[in-house]
Symmetry: C2
Subunit: 331 residues, 2 copies
DNA sequence: TCCGGTCGTTTAATCGTGTAAATAGATAAG
DNA sequence: CTTATCTATTTACACGATTAAACGACCGGA
């Protein structure tokens, strides 16, 4: 019976007593066949343990049923959550997902895209640096994550609104003197978060100091010094990772949040809720981001002509233990 | 010139004035051709921007140049480090990597394997639950991560030695009364870690209490109660995630490490070194684990007959701030 | 009875590579 | 000069699926 090889569409056809074309029609749900034949073919296919050869199908149709997911790194708490969502959604559509990290370097991003193209992905979901150069013509459709990108579909959280939310909550808690650890402004999301904060804070809050930092849990000396000056009642951070770095500096300096100073994050990554960290933050729906981007990509694969769309997802305030009301206004 | 389609091996052949077979020989480095023709073909291929169609090759050869990487979850600090290493190494061998999480459920593991098979992976690196049922015949070669697995190649850290190291360091610091948060013993690595600890501690340390916990950063009530009883000078944890959960409970209970009790982790995941956490732990070389497993898999793909091998990697002690010497022996 | 239209199924070509077998050309040996 | 031995290259088919086009059976209307 078993010839060692796994059964092909022809084996199924032979056993069922029909042609291979009929089998193909059945298995692709093109309902061109009578119900009896349909049932027969499906039964035989199941009995033989038939499973479609993806390579052959890809060769013939030009579609591989694989998408890519390009992220700056996997060793950050934020991105795996997105990757997981993409993968899950892709699988629901019958696609496999090639997760790949670009190592944060825009030059490597282009290489990564070529690598994916070589492996025949049909499209990709990608978190790209703004000065990423899109190949022309594009090797495959891309949906941009986390930021609008000219010429591409995109899905991102409402960073600007998040920034405003931060400022308004700070004000509601009575904070008037705030220090800011903002991201470098070439990254769209960092820019918009800051902009939202600054706009909402204007005239009501004094921005005592501000330092641009990389989105990693280590702070540059300038930031450490600023924190140690103890001039502010709150530190507003561009994301949770930076907020954790700030908490670390506080601890090293014999201070703590929120008794000496409040600390505010952004993202609500999984670990922000750990009691050891317990970070007040702006939540962006990471999983939602991933699954919507995937849906958008699949729809793009089915219709390359439709105009690009930008999906903006809402953010919410998550209040935890790293922030507190200011006791008395400072003198 | 450009016909819209990307150039095929035949296009290259036509331009170079040779047959497609010759081109194929050149591009596969089978050195069957004269140096001049070789050079010519390569030049033309580069000029046309030729890139091999992977689907066609896969169809013909039965190899897809894709490997799978099955991990319990991506939303844990430990596994992405492995995934990254696997991916990097696979790419060096010309393979792409399909990272996929099994969601910790052994039943889903078998489904995931079928999914990977459907997408035509040539093999996989996998962290499997011991009662995972290997299909017979196997759908593709698998290298087991983190634990020996009957019938499979494997790469894992020396958990037993790590357990011993833990106990010996604890003893050196003067700890005599220890509580243990061990993993459920059906998981090989959890079992071996505990065994190493117990063997080395025998007769020199009193194991005051022990609670089996899941490998997540939340503790069951029994564990929380045990910690609050304050009967021990050290808590030995099955991994860093659990250690962090223990630190959290301490904090919630108004205690802290190491002044009230020392806390000892295992893994040395990336965040163990954050000042907020600052965990003494046993380091297992995660990246090394991933890359060695990948090498093993590739070598297996080239020779299905060779006997299986088990690679055991050494672990090391990393001393940080969550443990301290015991001031005075308890009465 | 004959023609045209439907419908279900089969035939046959095709996708881009890899590779065994055939071929041609050159060289060496007898 | 013929024949055998290589070697570099080409010819030709197969891999497993999709799909346009051909086909044949059946039915209804004139």
């Amino acid at each position: 019976m078993s010839r060692g090889r796994s059964p092909t569409i022809k084996d199924v056809a032979k056993v069922a007593g029909v042609s291979s074309a009929t089998v193909s029609y059945v298995l692709n749900d093109l309902n061109k066949v009578t119900p009896e034949v349909d049932a027969l073919v499906r039964r035989v296919a199941k009995e033989l343990g038939y499973s479609r050869n993806n390579a052959a199908r890809a060769l013939k149709t030009g579609r591989n049923n694989i998408i890519g997911c390009i992220l700056p790194t996997l060793t950050s708490p934020v991105f795996p959550e997105i990757a997981q969502a993409v993968q899950l959604r892709a699988e629901a559509h019958g696609y496999a997902t090639l997760v790949i990290d670009s190592g944060n370097a825009p030059m490597r991003e282009e290489k990564v895209v070529r690598t994916l193209a070589k492996h025949g992905v049909d499209g990709a979901v990608a978190l790209l640096h703004p000065n990423f150069k899109l190949a022309d013509p594009p090797l495959f459709p891309i949906v941009s994550l986390d930021a609008r990108f000219p010429g591409l579909d995109s899905v991102h959280a409402d960073h600007y609104a998040g920034g405003r939310l931060m400022a308004e909550h700070a004000i509601a808690l009575g904070h008037r003197r705030i220090g800011m650890l903002s991201g470098f402004q070439d990254l769209t999301s960092s820019f918009e978060r800051r902009q939202g904060f600054v706009d909402a804070a204007a005239g009501r809050v004094e921005l005592v100091w501000e330092v641009n930092v990389h989105l990693v849990p280590q702070l540059p000396p300038a930031a450490v010094e600023a924190i140690r000056r103890r001039e502010v009642t709150m530190i507003a951070c561009v994301n949770d990772l930076v907020a954790i770095a700030a908490l670390s500096v506080l601890k090293d300096s014999g201070m703590s949040a929120p008794s000496d100073v409040s600390v505010f994050g952004f993202d609500d990554m999984q670990w922000a809720s750990w009691p050891l960290i317990d970070l007040t933050t702006i939540r962006q729906p990471l999983a939602e981001l991933g699954s919507q981007a995937t849906d958008l990509l699949i729809s793009r694969l089915d219709d390359r002509q439709r105009p690009t769309v930008d999906v903006v997802l809402p953010v919410t305030l998550v209040e935890r233990g790293s922030t507190a009301r200011v006791g008395l206004p400072l003198p």
